[in-house]
Structure formats: structure tokens, C-alpha cells
Symmetry: C2
Subunit: 138 residues, 2 copies
Amino acid sequence: MEAQIDEILRKNQLSVTGSRKRILELFLASNGALAHGDIEKKTGEKFDRVTVYRTLQTFLEKGIIHTIPTPDNSVLYALCKDNCTEGHHHDNHVHFICRECGKTICLADITIPEVKLPGGFLPHEYQMIVTGLCKECR
Amino acid sequence: MEAQIDEILRKNQLSVTGSRKRILELFLASNGALAHGDIEKKTGEKFDRVTVYRTLQTFLEKGIIHTIPTPDNSVLYALCKDNCTEGHHHDNHVHFICRECGKTICLADITIPEVKLPGGFLPHEYQMIVTGLCKECR
DNA sequence: CAAACGCATGCAACTTTGTTGCAAAATGAT
DNA sequence: ATCATTTTGCAACAAAGTTGCATGCGTTTG
């Protein structure tokens, strides 16, 4: 894992620092999405709030992670797949949020179906969120 | 419109008060979605911030409005269709958010296409957001 | 239509969340 | 090891959202 983390950072021309390693580690460990609060709690002892904000911001810009809008308007972040590049994301898969345990899962295999928009609308990015119960909670 | 507003409130067993009337009026006038900030600005003189929060909260609980998650994680609210009831919403239409003017439009005619979820997941609610350029801004 | 009850509002204080500027420390290149 | 650059932590601040309580308004009842 250590090596994987280093590679991700190097590939994105980011210096390898403690907070970046730790936060990436968290993302790799949980194969779901993390709220800012989650990250802050798990790193709170070691890193400043501000550092967490800035690290996430950096990862977003580099396309390492992406945000997931949720119905209750909390902020969630998740790792992007390899083919995400700076500026343009290719994470158009469906996100599932469990009502019970609150966990957010990237359904990487499920691509968002096409929809026909009324004339005049020029679509750019699609997001789809499904809420319900996950395997464990049903 | 006055009558329509009264009816909505009565139907939901809510007392007819100034702030509720005004906020409903705003929703009816803009046939898109409103951010909390929008509402606060347009009513700021007359009502307290706290009242706006509580009014929106009440409307949410009664199923008069629903929230729309946006890619930049701001909070948007929009009127529900008539058949929304307390607890269970039926607003599964697509929402379009314009990158340019920021306006959010309910594409009430476009229903969210079905997706097959991996085994074990029990879906409850679907949300779909498309960002891009609207008719005016393209 | 008046009185009384209960709910909604405004205010103040507070918590949480996110941002900015700057000095100190850590990182990577030489 | 040294130096330039980037990252971090701190402090202070700004914005967003919450809570408790006293007052006032809307609704109901007689």
C-alpha cells in the first residue's frame, strides 16, 4: 500500500508528505466515500484542520478524488479511477448511499444511463445518486 | 397565487404566517430551485435568518419542498409536485444546473431511467443531476 | 368577537464549517 | 549538506447552521 500511495502522489507531481500519505491511506482503506468530518476525526491528532482542507482541495484539482453530492448536502469525497485527469473527470458511475449506516459506495460498474434532454440544453456532466439499504443493512 | 399559497399551507396543516407565505411565494415565482442564500437575500429585511431555516425545515418535513444535491455541494430547494406526501417523495425527475448562470431547472418531464443495481442493494430513492449550459447561456 | 391556548418568530449566544495570511518547517533538487 | 520551493500550523476571521427562551401572532373555542 505504501508503494501504491507514493506512486499516486508522484504520478501527479505532488511531494510526498505525511498528511497526503495518511489521507490517501484512509481512502484506500475504506473503499467507499469519506466525509470531510470523517477524515478530520481520524487524523485530528496529527494534522491541522486547515491541512485537511488544503490536501483535499489539492487532490480534487489533480483529479485524484472527486466529490459526491448527497441528498442531505453533506460533502463526500471518493477516489477516482485511474483514467481521471486534471480538470476532466470520468467518474460517471452511480453512487449508492445507505440510509441506515450512511456509507457511500461507488458502483463503478454501473454507468449512468443516457437521458434525452429537452432541446436547447447542452449537457456536460451527469451525476446519479441512489439512496436505500446496502447489503449489510437490509 | 395568494389563494394557492393558502391552500398549500392548509392542506399541510400549517398555520398561515407571513414568512411561510413569502417563502412559498418565492418558490412559486421562480419555477426553478432556490438556494438558502437566495431566500435569505430576498426576505432578509423582513424575516430573521433563523426563521428562514426553520420554515424550510418545516416545508421539507411536510413534503412541500425537496432538496437537490449539487456537484458543488451547495444547498438547493425546490417545490415538490402535488403527489408528494410526508416522508415519501415522488420527485424523481432530472434536475439541470447551468454552469453559467447557476440556475437550476426541474426537468419534470424527464423521468430518471431505471438502473440495475448489483445484488443486495435495495434502492429507495433516485436522484439525477445534469450540469451544463441552459438555453439562454449556450 | 373576545379570551386563551399553542405554535411561530426574533433575538442572542453559540457551534460548526470553511477561508486567508503569514511565519516556521519539511520536501526535493543540486 | 544546502538552498529554493512547497507544505504545514497557527491565529484570526467569515460564513453557515443550531438552540433556548421570551414575546407576539394565528387559530380555536365558547
